[in-house]
Symmetry: C2
Subunit: 157 residues, 2 copies
């Protein structure tokens, strides 16, 4: 089962997003965990590889079960785990363009309107605006149309 870790950098009320060439959708920098890595190591390594910069004090904000189903939402065709971190500072200056797409700083408010997977919008907005940890399952079609989301959250007791 695939495990993906990503990291949303927020600094001076702007977030660092990667615009992917295929659909023009924005994502937080991230990628696949390697064998034996922790999710923390994977999020830091992927952020460095994709941006050239180093996150300071990243913290896990969300853990999501990602499910791809047929159009009717009845048969599970693929499933993977997504771990979303946030960090509020970095060292180094991020690249502007990479092999993965274009890196851009956007005002935090634009997370509400920039083109992206609808589940990512839920996750990234939670990460920057609420305390605690979010969990959930996102059901998508193969074309990445969101069919359903089921969300839980908790805060430290």
């Amino acid at each position: 089962m695939q495990r993906i870790a990503n990291l949303l950098m927020i600094k001076d009320d702007h977030v660092l997003l990667l615009k992917k060439p295929r659909r023009g959708w924005y994502v937080a920098p991230g990628g696949k965990m390697e064998p034996g890595e922790s999710i923390y190591e994977a999020a830091c390594r992927e952020f460095k590889e994709e941006t050239g910069a180093t996150p300071i004090a990243p913290h896990l904000k969300g853990i999501y079960t990602m499910v791809i189903t047929d159009t009717a939402g009845e048969t599970i065709e693929d499933e993977w785990m997504l771990y979303t971190f946030i960090a509020r500072d970095l060292t180094g200056i991020p690249y502007e363009t990479t092999t993965e797409g274009v890196l851009e700083w956007h005002p935090v408010e634009s997370l509400a309107t920039l083109p992206m997977a609808e589940g990512d919008r839920t996750n990234l907005q939670f990460a920057i605006s609420q305390s605690g940890t979010q969990y959930g399952t996102f059901y998508y079609t193969k074309e990445f149309k969101l069919l359903k989301e089921v969300i839980q959250k908790s805060v430290e007791g």
Copy 2:
């Protein structure tokens, strides 16, 4: 890849542990995630199934990459993810014996000395005594001897 969620219940300075018959080792109640579940749903469902009681306000404290290697620690033979929650209250009265083993309340301090996997000791002691979230990788032999642990942690920024 297997995903395991467990939940440490702590109440009145006692923790609820399951004594497994095979080695006599203690574990926090838990088990395998089902397809499409979130890790939160899995931790709650497994706790209920194994104890008969319902956790109140569980919160994720640790996410671990579990690696089984050959005795030399060089070849990865299996890998799975462990998600450890904590809760500080419950409804219902836990079973005393189950098909999985015997359920016992122990003083918190006994986590330092009860027989258990050494990685579990690290995880459970973190969960009850420190704030924030812990990450890491535990390398075990097939006989569940801990070869190495690599740990990171973070707190909400």
